[in-house]
């Protein structure tokens, strides 16, 4: 028995979401399989982008600006450990924010929990992430760098990166349906975020009195976590900042899901 009334959110929202898991898988699979169709080098595109960024950052921040690395870890490796979660975040955010508008024909013709669409695009970014892991392994072999036991905690930080991109992603997705202005805001946020987040440099380079405030950027905790896991003993986790980043992630997630759910039912009218 289903009751449709204005302004009433479903009591079984999460159960409903679970019921539609197959659609989630299918949509994610569609986005992945379509991604590199009719390209010549296909998957290699997923390798070229992070590699190019890596080279540029290593040269600019490491060789020209001569910023310190974490411990004795090679600078390129440190940059790449930060680039991994950043790429995941940036492509999730960009993908998710355009996903609803891009699937307008679905939204206006079929019912399903709308949350599926942006989350499915995040799954696509996840595939790119896995490909980038191959580069990481290559880099480690090149520098003959052996990670410690900490690398086993990587899935935990991966989850953190996922949640960190989901919160703002959902919020921007919902806003983008209503106000297309955000289509122009997001590339700017992504570009800007790359420099305010410790991707090209180590967050240890930030002066101590600012470090806690700096951690309000949820990406700081994520990147630090990745570096700690990948570089092992070479990187130290700044725990108060790490906790603050988690708090920021939780706040964004709560806000994102709340805003999304509130606007979800009117998507079909607005899109």
């Amino acid at each position: 028995m289903l009751i449709i009334e204005p302004g009433v959110t479903e009591r079984h929202y999460w159960r409903e979401l679970w019921r539609y898991r197959e659609l989630f898988i299918v949509l994610a699979w569609r986005d992945i399989s379509v991604r590199y169709k009719q390209t010549v080098i296909g998957l290699a595109w997923a390798l070229i982008q992070p590699l190019a960024t890596l080279v540029v950052f290593t040269i600019i921040f490491g060789s020209i600006a001569k910023l310190p690395s974490e411990g004795s870890a090679p600078y390129a490796l440190m940059v790449f450990a930060g680039l991994l979660p950043w790429q995941l975040f940036a492509s999730s955010l960009t993908g998710a924010s355009g996903s609803l508008v891009g699937n307008a024909n679905l939204i206006s013709k079929v019912y399903f929990p709308r949350l599926i669409v942006p989350v499915a695009t995040v799954a696509v970014s996840f595939v790119d992430f896995l490909i980038s892991l191959v580069i990481l392994a290559g880099l480690m072999a090149w520098y003959q760098f052996l990670p410690g036991w900490e690398v086993l905690t990587l899935p935990f930080f991966l989850l953190m990166a996922f949640l960190a991109s989901l919160g703002p992603g959902l919020w921007l997705t919902a806003l983008n349906v209503k106000y297309r202005d955000f289509r122009y805001v997001i590339p700017f946020v992504v570009q800007f975020g790359l420099y305010v987040s410790p991707v090209g440099f180590s967050s240890a380079a930030i002066p101590d009195e600012w470090r806690l405030w700096y951690s309000l950027n949820p990406l700081v905790g994520v990147v630090d976590g990745f570096r700690w896991a990948i570089l092992g003993g070479q990187s130290q986790l700044f725990l108060p900042g790490f906790a603050l980043s988690w708090a920021a992630i939780a706040a964004f997630l709560w806000l994102g899901i709340r805003r999304f759910r509130k606007m979800e039912k009117s998507f079909a009218d607005l899109i």
Partner: protein
Amino acid sequence: MSDIAITVENLGKSYVIGHNSKEAERYIALRDVVTRNARNLLRSTRSMVKGDPIVQGDETEEFWALKEIDFEIRHGDKVGIIGRNGAGKSTLLKILSRITEPTTGRVTINGRLASLLEVGTGFHPELTGRENIFLNGAILGMSRREIQHKFDGIVDFAEVEKFLDTPVKRYSSGMYVRLAFAIASFLEPEILVVDEVLAVGDAQFQKKCLGKMEEAGRDGRTVIFVSHSMAMISNLCKTGIVLNSGRIDCHGPVSQAVVRYYQTLNRTGRATERGFSSDVAELLGCELVGSSKFNEASIFDAITIRMHYRILRAIDAKCVPNLHFFSADGSCAFVSNADAIREIPPGHYVADCQIPGGLLNEGAYFVGAAITTYPPNGTYHVEFFDRNALTFNVIDPMDERSNRYNYVGPIPGLLRPKLNWSVRNYSP
């Protein structure tokens, strides 16, 4: 479980729409354009701060696409929803299928509902036919296992087995539609909501789809069906709901609803306004003599169709009124004209045509009225022909005269004449 599938109470849906004020269009001076744009910018910023959607235009207005809709649908009912463009049919379907939220009221749905507002929703041009079957199936709410189970059936129905591994962007439009519809037709919910989706594909395939839909109906499934084709509606549905400007105009047996729909169509222009006249003759209107509001008659009763017309000037020709009878699906049942009439002077005329009882089948009939003149030189000329001069509904009272015995279903045919039968024992 109760036998009510869908209850709709006081349902309403409003949209805010914007207009460009007439003034704004008249002045094109730069100053006016600047102030107008500045005002619009201010308004959209204000609505963004408040969290309201942005509406284009200088003035906004609330528009009710649906208002005060109440009805109940029982399990196993086949309901046709008819109405003109913009009457609110699609909005109603979108609310029932949970795509959009109502502004007022409540809908209670009992059972698994699937909606088909479009065939091939979500088809991706880059993916192959096989992949799209899984994609579209999942979008329509089928599970993976269900699709695998029905896969061969779908491919058979769509007749695309040769092109299963070709991207659908290479398909011909016919193949595309066939595949899309094949997937949809394998949907097996308890309640099926279908928008005008059968208006695609070639005639033969349409017939096949129609057959599939009827099959679905026989399984005791509840079907809500929107179409502009009265033929499909009267073939598939037992009950009809007529929507007019967002309100229910009529809810009853499908033939009554179809008649009502044609009446609402006619109301906008009376015969003369639509120009059913020539310099010789003018149609004033048609009526069913002595009938109720809904133009209803029993299959046993003789009916009289009265046609009013005016002869405007005397001509040297026979002036013959004739009536064309169409069934709900648009096919012509028969044509009848008046007995030879000589040249007649100008004036208001009434032509009565009596149809004997026990000739028409039950259902809606549409009467087209025409005047044809036959000058002595052997030619003829149609002065006017109003295709929709009158609609009426013939009902079967279902008593012993109906010769139905235990059968209560529809009896096919444009006519159902009462003929003389004699049955004898022929055994030696």
